[in-house]
């Protein structure tokens, strides 16, 4: 009887994987924002005042995805309707400065491919995740990249338990003082070549916790991230697209 039950599960499961991960578009996702060039009301700074992480600067309006928690408070208060969130998950970048969405500019935010990364990690990239104050939302979404829907293992990309086996340290959370030493130990245990991926507003900028005395971000002053994956939390496709863009043509199923 057991195998019949097992077969029924198999039949109900069908085929769940997303065929083209680079083109995945999650319906209804509050993703990449765009800032139109509609004129602001004279002296209006409602969006900047409403933003809980100070992600917005004015004249012209600039929105820093490294700080944005996608709460859309800016959309609620803007009388001109300048800011809109699209359902695009594509917003990973290889430079911190590239995460700023500018007024009237519709250029895509994209991680730059690296020939060296493509050659070294294109066929095999092992990831060690360290949560240093993450709220378990980033962690759950990172877990999801290897589920049957996203199935990132098809690219040779997967989680490993030991930092000794890892190529990249995938960091979530604002880095609490209480995790500072453990994070450093994990990084020191990783062999070269190695790099850091900062995932989520907390890891990239401290996010909502940037001003807390309970966090200590000195690690990132010594070790700069190679890849920035914005979101709160980022959609699995945001992470996947950013990593695949970084690896360039070297990464294929």
């Amino acid at each position: 009887m057991t195998y019949i039950k097992s077969l029924r599960v198999r039949l109900s499961q069908g085929s769940q994987y997303i065929p083209d991960l680079r083109e995945g578009r999650p319906t209804g996702f509050r993703g990449l924002p765009v800032v139109s060039s509609l004129p602001c009301s004279e002296g209006c700074r409602a969006c900047r005042d409403a933003c809980p992480t100070g992600a917005i600067e004015l004249e012209p309006v600039r929105l820093d995805l490294g700080r944005c928690v996608f709460c859309a408070a800016c959309v609620d208060v803007c009388p001109a309707g300048k800011i809109q969130f699209t359902d695009s998950p594509n917003m990973g970048a290889t430079e911190r400065g590239a995460l700023v969405v500018r007024e009237g500019v519709e250029a895509a935010i994209q991680a730059k491919a690296s020939a060296a990364f493509s050659r070294i990690f294109g066929r095999s990239l092992k990831l060690r995740q360290v949560s240093a104050g993450g709220c378990n939302a980033c962690e759950l979404e990172l877990n999801a990249i290897t589920n049957v829907n996203f199935d990132l293992q098809r690219f040779g990309i997967e989680w490993v338990a030991s930092p000794r086996h890892a190529d990249a340290l995938v960091l979530t959370g604002p880095i609490t003082r209480n995790m500072r030493d453990a994070l450093r130990l994990a990084w020191d245990a990783m062999p070269d070549p190695r790099f850091v991926v900062a995932v989520g507003a907390c890891a990239i900028s401290g996010g909502l916790y940037a001003s807390s005395p309970a966090i200590d971000r000195s690690f990132l002053e010594q070790v700069g991230p190679t890849l920035f994956v914005p979101g709160c939390p980022p959609h699995p496709l945001t992470f996947i697209r950013a990593v695949l863009d970084l690896l360039g043509a070297g990464a294929h199923p």
Partner: protein, 488 residues
């Protein structure tokens, strides 16, 4: 109670106040008379510590208070009522109040002045020729939050587990006071990010009580709808992880992909797979259209149909029954003594579910509660499986009565002065409390957050005693507690 959540709002001068020793005596008597501690928390004032106790008996909440002067101490009740152990430890850690006679004043999260002491903390030790210790963490093998586990073992058998938490401490309660209390939603939703709706609702309910505005029944039903959807999503996540840890691959993959369906439904409703921005003070912020309702109906139907198939396969598999039954058992007596709540409590036969006699949405649409008595990993898995069925049936029914949502947010009125508002929401892990107190000008002077995990972590430590150390991952997953919810 007319609200779907437990809400208590009263002027601070109306809270029964006692001298410290009389307060302790009163608390002790109420516990002996069958009351249950929901929370005890303290606020450090310049010259004294204000200690508040929240009790529940027969689904009625009551609050008492005492002021303890800086130079004085409070007598610990933990020796006679172990359920107070974590509250008194937190009280001591947060306010530096001396608690005399407590057997184990270990910091619950090493916050503030305790942070420097974390690495030097002397773990509990058992000595003997054949006793050995195993240290795990704070970083674990999988993609998971950090916490430290120290096992004291005799061979494969665990004598005791000491859980050390605090690695996730971000200073949440302090930050909550630095901003306008009416604009805290994004921060509240990230305190324990897997419980965004639970936390969001607790915050909204407490704030709305302070502002004196009770949400309409339609709003309450919409909130309950996303809360139950969050419960479905997270129970599926737990079962997927549990199946992976015991090597049942079909369970792991199928519960996992069904979770995708549940959280994608949430994303269609509010833009976030975790229910971020679904609630807002005064209302909700959900999309609505006939097409979307059809998508939700279809997704709920798919979840119900496919869950029945995987549950049948998972629960009847020999490997699953063998690995879960009798492993990691906590007795009903232990559960009551420790005040375990939520899924963990209900798996031990402790009937504690805030939705049971709640008003509002759960009065108009009653939801069943489920109980198991064995208190082992199997019982905790069964409670989750049964709650999935109950919540899905409830969602299907509630969807028929969901009103359309019309933009509504809280008018930014002032908060009542010198008032304490407490809201309790039954999240997927259990009883979650937010308490906000205002000063004479109506500004927030204290924000207390309490995750059910604060109490349930000690349940895990007891569950693994006399079990094999190799069963720990299964025990841990079957509890599925929050690290950041404890660490704040």
């Amino acid at each position: 109670m007319s609200s779907s959540t437990g809400v208590l709002c009263l002027p601070t001068e109306a809270i029964p106040a006692f001298e410290p020793e009389a307060w302790t005596m009163d608390l002790s008597q109420q516990l002996q008379a069958g009351a249950r501690v929901v929370s005890v928390f303290g606020r450090a004032a310049p010259d004294r510590t204000v200690v508040t106790a929240l009790l529940e008996k027969d689904h009625r909440f009551s609050v008492t208070r005492t002021d303890v002067e800086r130079s004085a101490a409070l007598r610990s009740l933990t020796p006679e009522a172990p359920q107070l152990h974590c509250f008194e430890r937190e009280l001591h850690e947060q306010t530096a109040l001396e608690v005399t006679g407590h057997p184990w004043l270990k910091p619950v999260r090493f916050e503030g002045r305790e942070q420097a002491a974390m690495n030097a903390y002397p773990y509990y030790r058992i000595e003997g020729k054949e006793v050995h210790e195993v240290a795990v963490g704070p970083i674990h093998a999988s993609v998971i939050e950090p916490g430290s586990f120290r096992f004291m073992c005799h061979g494969e058998r665990v004598h005791h587990l000491e859980v050390q938490l605090g690695y996730q401490h971000r200073g949440v309660e302090r930050l909550l006071l630095e901003r306008d209390v009416r604009a805290l939603m994004p921060l509240v939703e990230t305190i324990a990010g897997d419980s965004s709706v639970t936390y969001g609702w607790a915050y909204c309910a407490a704030l709305e009580a302070l502002i004196g505005r009770e949400p309409r029944p339609e709003i309450e039903l919409l909130r309950a709808f996303v809360l139950e959807l969050e419960r479905v999503s997270m129970h599926l996540a737990t079962l997927s992880g549990l199946a992976a840890d015991l090597g049942h691959l079909q369970g792991s993959t199928t519960y996992g992909r069904l979770r995708t369906t549940a959280i994608n439904t949430m994303m269609r409703l509010c833009g976030s797979r975790f229910g971020r921005r679904a609630l807002r003070p005064g209302g909700v912020c959900l999309r609505d259209s006939p097409e979307l309702r059809q998508v939700i109906r279809d997704n709920l139907a798919l979840l119900q149909a496919d869950l029945a198939i995987i549950n049948d396969c998972f629960l009847s598999a020999h490997t699953v029954r063998h690995r879960l039954r009798g492993v990691g058992a906590v007795s009903a007596t232990q559960a009551r003594e420790l005040g375990l709540v939520g899924v963990v409590g209900r798996a031990c036969g402790v009937r504690v579910d805030g939705r049971e006699r709640a008003g509002g949405a759960y009065e108009a649409h009653p939801i069943g509660t489920t109980l198991q008595t064995d208190g082992d990993c199997w019982a905790r898995a069964l409670v989750r499986v049964q709650e999935l069925d109950i919540s899905l049936s409830w969602l299907v029914q509630a969807l028929k009565d969901l009103s359309g949502w019309h933009g509504e947010a809280l008018s930014p009125g002032p908060c009542a002065p010198s008032t304490l508002a407490i809201a309790i929401v039954e999240g997927f892990r259990g009883e979650t409390m937010h308490a906000i107190e205002t000063d004479a000008a109506g500004g927030a002077i204290h924000y207390k957050v309490q995750d059910p995990s604060l109490r349930n972590w000690m349940g895990l430590a007891l569950a693994v005693r006399q079990n094999e150390i190799s069963d720990f991952p299964i025990c841990n997953k079957s509890f599925d507690l929050s690290y950041c919810g404890n660490d704040l």
